[in-house]
């Protein structure tokens, strides 16, 4: 089993085809995403949005702020990967038709996806590549929090 890390980020105001959080891969490792949580901390309301986990390959864009991966085992070294959260001033260059997971979610609900052993989302060892959580067609502009656990 590889070293495991966690990243958490948020988007204060989602919009169509905007990135909530992105995991930037590195040339030295293949990150394996095995846990994802998406939730909303705003006052409960009946709004919804679609979300897609998409590969990007042409660069991670320009995030609103960087997110430092936290090692789940404190004795592990820093992750080779990086991450960023909204609000992106330049979106990552997503690969067309490269959605790894897609779902729709009501604002009131919390979504979690967990991979079985061997079912992780594998990212290539690529400095310009990674995975982004993209909001699609939200019915309103609300805040979204996301958390990813990955292994490298």
């Amino acid at each position: 089993m590889g070293r495991r890390y966690s990243i958490s980020g948020s988007d204060p105001s989602i919009a169509n085809n905007t990135t909530v959080m992105a995991l930037d891969s590195a040339a030295s490792v293949r990150p394996l995403v095995y846990d994802l949580v998406v939730s909303c901390r705003d006052t409960p309301a009946d709004q919804a949005s679609g979300y897609q986990l998409e590969r990007f390959a042409g660069g991670a864009g320009t995030s609103g702020s960087a997110v430092t991966p936290q090692a789940l085992d404190p004795s592990d070294p820093a992750s080779a990967c990086a991450a960023g959260q909204a609000t992106y001033t330049a979106e990552p260059t997503y690969t067309a038709n490269a959605t790894l997971l897609a779902f729709n979610l009501n604002q009131r609900a919390t979504f979690r996806w967990v991979a079985a052993p061997g079912g992780e989302l594998v990212l290539p060892a690529d400095d310009d590549g990674g995975l982004g959580i993209v909001a699609t067609s939200p019915t309103a502009s609300f805040s979204v929090d996301a958390m990813i656990h990955f292994e490298e």
Binding site: R30, R55, A57, T95, A96, N97, A98, T99, L100, L101, F103, A109, T110, F111, R112, W113, V114, A115, A116, G118, G119, L121, V122, P124, A125, D126, G129
Partner: protein
């Protein structure tokens, strides 16, 4: 944990309750949801070459395992990973 498929590759949990399993396409590595349909028989896209259920999208009609695609992409022999 109730499972809707024998070899689920992932689970979807909404508000602490498991609602669905996901399978993983061997060609693109993406996960797709299996919807519980009781006794209804569902014909799912199947790759005759590798004998696996696929996501059914046109990009995955050709049998190229995701592991091979990753290797080719990292070597620069393919420009896109999808």
């Amino acid at each position: 944990m109730n499972s809707s498929v024998r070899r689920a590759k992932g689970s979807i949990i909404i508000d602490g309750r498991q609602v669905a399993d996901t399978l993983q396409c061997p060609h693109c590595g993406g996960h797709f949801q299996i919807i519980r349909a009781g006794r209804k028989q569902v014909n799912w896209p199947y790759c005759k070459n590798c004998g696996s259920l696929t996501c059914g999208l046109p990009k995955c009609h050709e049998c190229v395992p995701i592991e091979e695609k990753l290797d080719l992409y990292e070597l620069g022999k393919i420009s896109e990973l999808r």
